[in-house]
Symmetry: D2
Subunit: 380 residues, 4 copies
Amino acid sequence: MTSTQATDKTLRIGLVGTGFMGKAHAIAYHAAPTVFPLSASVTCELLAEVTADLAEQKARELGFRRATDNWRALVRDDRVDVVDICSPNFLHKDMALAAIAAGKHVYCEKPLALNATDALEMTLAAETAGVKTLVGFNYAKNPAAQLAKEIIAAGEIGEVVHFRGTHNEDYLADPNVPHSWRLKREFSGSGTLGDMGSHIINMAQYLVGGISEVSGDLKTVIPQRPVAGNPGAFAEVENEDQAHCLVRFDNGAQGTLETSRIAWGRKMGLTYEVTGTRGSLVFDQERMSELKLYTATDPGHRAGFRTLLIGPDHPDYAHFCVGPGHGIGYNDQKAIEVRDLVEGIVNDRPLWPDFRAAFEVNRVIDAIEQSHAEGRWIRL
Amino acid sequence: MTSTQATDKTLRIGLVGTGFMGKAHAIAYHAAPTVFPLSASVTCELLAEVTADLAEQKARELGFRRATDNWRALVRDDRVDVVDICSPNFLHKDMALAAIAAGKHVYCEKPLALNATDALEMTLAAETAGVKTLVGFNYAKNPAAQLAKEIIAAGEIGEVVHFRGTHNEDYLADPNVPHSWRLKREFSGSGTLGDMGSHIINMAQYLVGGISEVSGDLKTVIPQRPVAGNPGAFAEVENEDQAHCLVRFDNGAQGTLETSRIAWGRKMGLTYEVTGTRGSLVFDQERMSELKLYTATDPGHRAGFRTLLIGPDHPDYAHFCVGPGHGIGYNDQKAIEVRDLVEGIVNDRPLWPDFRAAFEVNRVIDAIEQSHAEGRWIRL
Amino acid sequence: MTSTQATDKTLRIGLVGTGFMGKAHAIAYHAAPTVFPLSASVTCELLAEVTADLAEQKARELGFRRATDNWRALVRDDRVDVVDICSPNFLHKDMALAAIAAGKHVYCEKPLALNATDALEMTLAAETAGVKTLVGFNYAKNPAAQLAKEIIAAGEIGEVVHFRGTHNEDYLADPNVPHSWRLKREFSGSGTLGDMGSHIINMAQYLVGGISEVSGDLKTVIPQRPVAGNPGAFAEVENEDQAHCLVRFDNGAQGTLETSRIAWGRKMGLTYEVTGTRGSLVFDQERMSELKLYTATDPGHRAGFRTLLIGPDHPDYAHFCVGPGHGIGYNDQKAIEVRDLVEGIVNDRPLWPDFRAAFEVNRVIDAIEQSHAEGRWIRL
Amino acid sequence: MTSTQATDKTLRIGLVGTGFMGKAHAIAYHAAPTVFPLSASVTCELLAEVTADLAEQKARELGFRRATDNWRALVRDDRVDVVDICSPNFLHKDMALAAIAAGKHVYCEKPLALNATDALEMTLAAETAGVKTLVGFNYAKNPAAQLAKEIIAAGEIGEVVHFRGTHNEDYLADPNVPHSWRLKREFSGSGTLGDMGSHIINMAQYLVGGISEVSGDLKTVIPQRPVAGNPGAFAEVENEDQAHCLVRFDNGAQGTLETSRIAWGRKMGLTYEVTGTRGSLVFDQERMSELKLYTATDPGHRAGFRTLLIGPDHPDYAHFCVGPGHGIGYNDQKAIEVRDLVEGIVNDRPLWPDFRAAFEVNRVIDAIEQSHAEGRWIRL
């Protein structure tokens, strides 16, 4: 009977923020080393929250060694290699710049910044410092999305000529849901565009390529919301509830992008349909383990969309399960993201989507807002 | 044993054109009087085709009493009450104006005209003459579409805030499909916008209301096609293969409309998703007998899109079948359309969509084209 | 301008019964000659109902020339070539035998008889008399079912090894639905087995082949129902609400068949899944215009069920519509059935499913009942 | 900055076997403490494999502290609290009995034993020793299955009257897949019945209750398979490729169960449809994050199956993700199973499904086999 040895390399994580995303990251840190053969072990080293008590409680819950109520201490901590930013959007910039200044790699949730100017500043800082960056556009890590990318890259559907993407949810569809920081421009920037729209913009860029022009339209459907804890009080909603745009891609393809936070019935409504000159792909994240493929090579009387159930013959799935169609879950996407993080840093390989890729998302958001404001197409 | 009596009123049809739509209309004329209790009997009186032989052959096949190779004779024929125009788009105007001049009611296939100017001329002529008109936007006659309308009108999904509609097919996706009249501006006007886009524009107007502004983008993806019967020869495609636009409705709702004739895998891809302040509707014409409904009134833990299978509790279905979910087919929509035609004419009631409603479709098409040409929003 | 000529051959129909099925047949008689090129014209000659008034009213509604309250007169009428029996099940035998005795061809709704003994007597009478017979198992006429048959016959899914079929509806799921003739053995024989089970038994025989052994189980879930028009009174339900069985086919395949009239949510729940040694088929009549096909020949990483939308490349569809995926409806199946009827009689070709094929269905029903009663497998 | 404390209780795991299931268990041990608030910490203490090298390699990969090539040493190890058996089926009995004899709690993969006799011996041993047991019927841990149970238990679909369940896959559909231990009675007992059928039997018992009678039929479709590494050699397949049965439940409900390992196209084909007197449920594990519900309380014209996307309002989901519809994966089910294991042991609460529940599954399997052999219904 023998004791097993750890790998000699270790990546030590400093996590800032423990809401929805902070927990998802923590689950991924604990699961990924068992799911994947990693080039380094991962240590959940330090966790920052707004109070010491909360930080300690969350560190226990999420399996972190140490806790702090001071994120500035965290980004400087000697035993932290990667700063993982899961705080509200308006804090991303200061935290990332501080982490970069301290020479840390940065793993940041999306959207990277409140606007493209900030995103560019962060990008340039990281590139100058030579640290690795990764932004949490996790839906592109879904094996089904990777498969879509693989099919497109291999030319199986020919040249892409159209992309229709949505990311619609209904978490604010009820007008009685109270006001929050997400509805203030100061803390969130745009509304659904940054929150969910950023995912479908990233997906469009991943699957089709760069976006060169947009014509957009925004709308705040519910102008005021009740203030929690203050009966009878209402606060103004400062950013859009729904947004959509026409896009033109660098490669000539056309597209539409749509996002809403008030789309009743849509719970995880990230969908896309990619039309090529030789076939098509259809995807719906609510059925995240399947991808529909139509290819012009099938004879007409036997042609139809095939429902591909993701399995071990597709990207990354086999690490989770050897049986096909057994199903990938939301957090599994984050485990893949953590795998990418670890492998990119330890082996000094490019990470995607890095700050620059996330800046490209922010650029599109800004262009959509400008297009709406000016009532015309905006060239990026 | 007794002989049964015909109703004393009869509507005599003169059909021009016997392609896809001409046959569908003929099937409907023969089926509708059995499906529905009609206020008049229907006589398939006279049929016009380009040659006498073809006209006679088609009259036999489609159950018409008489045949002619002269459509001008048909529109003047004393025994014709309704002129039914199923000819290529560029002929609609002359035929309709001639029929109107002869005092005939006109049932015309869509799109009504090659452009809004012609459509308006036809509309004004009909209104001045006081004849009834009906245009074949049959997807609005689908019981599922009528149910969607009923649900929206009753406020069951609240105020409509977003509409996403498509009508995509793939009948020209293969670049080897030869050139045809549909690809020449002279004979068809716009491309997929008029052919299929007109259906989804009409549906948007039916379900949501008037469209006040558009920002559109068009693309001819396959610029040339082989000329049938002339090996090696290619002809230019003069209109768009795919088109899409942002729209703003009169009532403040936003929307996107999309159409393509090269969308691999889509065979009858008329789809819509209507988001309201209290619920949503999702429809796909490839599953034409079902409508998905989400209502905010369901408790959260039991809320989800309901798949309503169209049955006798829904509009018009019971006339076809007393068993729910037994299924409506394409031609059944035309039978409903014929029922509307007969009842509207015999009882002197408004018909919808009449020439004016179809003119509104043509106006939107023209505005999309103008928007594309000028790169800006167009207010209708 | 010329008058068109009728074909010189005519088939004159005598219809008995004008409920759900009688109307469906009438619609088909009027539509089929336009949909299909038929070898004879069809005349709706004579209609019988239980009273003279009702018969006259229905003849007007359904487009029949003459009416009678005497079905025995109808079957003897000189101007009737085909007796079409759409009356309640218990009347099929007397009517069919009388029609056969009068030398008429017989088109009869399913189930053919209350039991196999009667069905055999009817079959032998028809065969001896040399008249044509057809039984209304219309779901086998659905182009999707014909396509399934074609795919199986061509060996595209290899040898069939398993068949799972259901025909479940919920029209009696509510215990407040009143008692009716269908629930009395005297008038209906078996319950859901004859009413809907007969369809899925017929489908199994169509797609896989003869059934050699069954092990069945039946249950009357709702033992009493209110008597319509007699408040407080209840009558006993004399036959089964749900039934299912294991089957063994002549060719060695296994299967299960299931039927229910109390299956909440199923409106037209005729479904089948056919597993072969090289692929599979999945079908659901609630989506009657699509068939799912999986073939082992697809490479593993691109294999999945294909949704084939029925179109002009598939059996019979092109006669209804030249556009693929535009959708077949319930009554279209009956039009195909009428086409088969006309062509079989006029060209003296075999009809399927004839009385003998329907007798095979009744045999299986009887065997299931016997298996249930005796608690053992029954060999047919 | 503070160091976080571990909970004072720890459960130390000894894992035997590191194939498909061993890895899934390991992932769950690492993820569960972050996903759930657990009453004890979990230590991956010791791992056994067939050779020392493999054991050490797997211990490193799966995050276990120590490794051994001697499972008998593992079950006796002082630092092991729970013996987790993920070895081939024929080893379950000896390992479980040894673990029980050593006073260890046992977590065992399914099927518990090769037959009911062995399963009962194991059950009685565990009950006598007073150790906790849990068997890996993980599909019952899926939040969607728990929701189905909750809906049934609350009477939302009334009394259950019918259950149709399948667990079909196609991993042996290709006759060129080589022979393996699963195909020998000595090592596997039954074929697909124990491998996948056990899951759907367990699910039927979970959702509906005890099974009192069965009538079953089995078939070995592919009688021989190639021997891996021995070109030209074939070995006999000793157990069934497909099996199905009729069942009667203690509460009077009827059902069918079906399982196949050669069902082309089905990758994770565990499905069920539960019909009650007031509604129905439909589930397909290939879409594991959704459950379809039909309730008789909806008004007829708005009634339809609702697709419930599993979210935080449903059992256990909120621990994984606060956003609804974001998706549960295969391994998440195992994390729930581990949560049950830990909480049951630490708080001395009943575990389900324990050995006795798994024995009930083995009893049904044996009864199906006997029914097939004797050609009659078997009462359990």
